[in-house]
């Protein structure tokens, strides 16, 4: 199954078997959110919201308090600038404030550029600093299913940093770990794709890379194999993100450095605003850019 088919099936079951709700703007419009929402027009649990980005996440929080475990869909992750407040300031804090959870499955869908200053790529960096919220960035069906299972087993909001590039992926992604690697790469979301291409480019030049795919951004699940791979890498590591560097990637790099004796760098969107013209866009690092940066890092050491 593709990721899109998996999401669609999870959603269908939630609507029809759990009395759950799915809510968002223009759900039934072109493509049903990239084929991830079951085509069930008029279903009472499929809630078309008004275009007011400022109140919609509050409505979702209310549905969660009513026990409906909403799936909230934000079709462009950049729209989380307005939507996030009820997730981060209410839902994420409710457990500590009042003892009850506000479980919301927040589907925040990233594009790969091409749409100007707001909506471009991932924006999980806006969320990561707030206590009480969990963040996951699945790219495969298996990972998506794991995220959903986790959501249903907890009563906290779960921020799912999706990427449209994942929707057509129909295979699992395994980590690449070598006994004697030069560097360990930690790609996030769709950066995994360019990272894999970069690894091939670097291999041709004799540079051996580990690749540890980061699924959980918060809490960072630093498994032994991840830390050992980093510790055994000659030149440390690099977190590769689809968001700005001053966000999740630096948090994760810092965590990894605190747990090992290795330096970990970061790559992500450039520190500038994206424009609409193709030459002014701000895209996640290309495979060539990743390879160049890795070579620079190795040469410096």
């Amino acid at each position: 199954m593709t990721v899109a088919e998996t999401v669609k099936e999870i959603t269908r079951k939630h609507l029809t078997e759990n009395n759950g709700v799915v809510m968002g703007q223009c759900l039934s419009a072109v493509g049903w959110v990239g084929g991830t929402v079951p085509e069930m027009p008029g279903h009472p649990n499929l809630i078309e919201l008004s275009m007011d980005d400022t109140c919609s996440s509050g409505l979702a929080a209310g549905y969660a308090l009513a026990g409906r475990r909403p799936i909230f869909i934000c079709r462009y992750q950049g729209f989380m600038h307005f939507n996030q407040v009820f997730f981060t300031n209410f839902a994420a804090k409710a457990k500590e404030m009042w003892g009850y959870g506000v479980p919301i499955f927040i589907r925040a869908v990233a594009m790969e550029g091409g749409i100007g200053p707001v909506a471009g790529s991932s924006h999980h960096g806006m969320i990561i600093r707030m206590p009480g919220i969990r963040i996951v960035a699945p790219m495969t069906s298996g990972e998506y299913t794991e995220a959903w299972k986790d959501f249903m087993e907890h009563d906290a909001p779960l921020y799912v940093s999706e990427h449209r590039h994942s929707f057509s992926i129909d295979h699992e992604m395994t980590d690449l770990i070598h006994r004697q690697a030069d560097i360990t790469l930690f790609p996030i979301s769709a950066a995994r794709l360019n990272t894999l291409e970069a690894v091939k480019l670097l291999e041709k030049e004799g540079i051996i890379c580990n690749v540890i795919n980061l699924l959980w951004l918060k809490p960072l699940i630093a498994e032994d194999k991840m830390l050992n791979a980093l510790e055994n890498s000659r030149f440390g590591g690099m977190v590769v993100d689809t968001d700005y560097e001053n966000g999740a990637s630096k948090c994760i790099a810092c965590d990894l450095m605190q747990k090992t004796d290795k330096k970990v760098g970061v790559m992500g969107l450039e520190e500038r605003t994206a424009g609409f013209a193709p030459h002014l866009d701000n895209l996640p690092p290309s495979s060539e850019k990743i390879a160049k940066r890795i070579k620079e890092k190795i040469n410096r050491c």
């Binding site: 008004s50 509050g58 308090l65 300031n89 209410f90 404030m97 009042w98 009850y100």
Partner: protein, 301 residues
């Protein structure tokens, strides 16, 4: 502040309600007033933590009427909600402990004055951002189908997400009563300085039945009788805040004193003995509740 219109309750409206109902409203008014007067006394004497406190003195007649006429509903309020908490049956002792920052408080000390809650009586906590309770309440009402009360102030009503959520409630027929407790002030800035429009017009524009009332409890109960089965509905209730926005300061006597007006009406109804008994009992209960704070025993001190 000048809020025009008669302060006198039409006699035919008072006669619509039984003596018992009127006295129950008066009991809740006295309960709130005596609780708050004790808070003020303790706060002024430095016997409480210096957290921001938002006393509801002046608005309790409206809230008492709401709780009698619109009972057994879930409640979403914000700061200045001691009266909402008490009128709907929240434990005075747990509220006292909350204000004292004790683990036995209704929110174990996390809620302070502004973010109190009472699961037993259906009151949800507020996250501290003005007006966020409105979208959450609308979501709750839609998600649960339960009748819901959500209160706001005349300032928080101006938040964009409040207006958006009211639109959602209108579109989807949420079973919710919105109440704007209108003291004409945002801290000390009057409504006329802040906006040129009214909340009643906003509600009506969205197709929500709306009324602009003074804090006359009988009038409020009369209107709730008319609208409570035709939700969503909106009431703008004008009242005089007796103390400062936060803390216990006072800028002089209120433009009108609804407590005294209600008391006078009850005496006209021949209920002076009952009025005196209620006043005595409420004062006794609340003074007793606070006596250890005002006069700590040696051990406790």
């Amino acid at each position: 502040m000048t809020q025009t219109g008669s302060l006198t309750t039409p006699k035919e409206i008072i006669r619509m309600f039984s003596k018992e109902t009127s006295l129950e409203v008066f009991w809740r008014i006295c309960l709130c007033r005596n609780f708050e007067l004790n808070v003020k006394k303790a706060y002024d004497a430095g016997l409480m933590p210096k957290i921001p406190i938002y006393l509801s003195l002046g608005q309790e007649t409206a809230t008492a009427a709401l709780s009698v006429a619109f009972p057994a509903v879930k409640q979403f309020g914000q700061h200045r909600g001691h009266d909402l908490y008490l009128c709907y049956g929240g434990s005075p002792q747990e509220l006292r402990d909350e204000l004292l920052g004790l683990p036995t408080g209704c929110a174990k000390g996390m809620g302070g004055s502004a973010s109190i809650h009472s699961p037993k009586t259906g009151m949800f906590g507020h996250d501290g951002l003005m007006g966020t309770q409105i979208p959450i309440a609308v979501g709750y009402a839609l998600g649960s189908g339960n009748k819901t009360l959500s209160t706001m102030g005349d300032a928080s009503a101006e938040e964009g997400y409040v207006l958006g959520a009211m639109g959602e409630a209108a579109s989807k027929k949420a079973p919710i009563l919105f109440v704007c407790m209108d003291n004409n002030l945002s801290i000390k800035t009057e409504v006329k300085v802040r906006r040129s429009w009214t909340m009643v017009d906003e509600a009506k524009a969205k197709g929500i039945p709306a009324h602009d009332l003074k804090d006359d409890p009988w009038l409020i109960m009369h209107y709730i009788e008319q609208i409570k089965n035709n939700l969503p509905a909106f009431l703008n209730i004008r009242y005089c805040r007796e103390l400062w926005h936060a803390g216990t300061g006072c800028d002089g006597p209120p433009e009108w004193n609804r407590y005294e007006l209600v008391r006078t009406e009850l005496i006209f109804l021949g209920l002076l003995p009952e009025v005196k008994r209620i006043e005595r009992n409420a004062a006794h209960q609340m003074d007793n509740l606070w006596k250890d704070v005002h006069c700590p025993t040696k051990e406790k001190a």
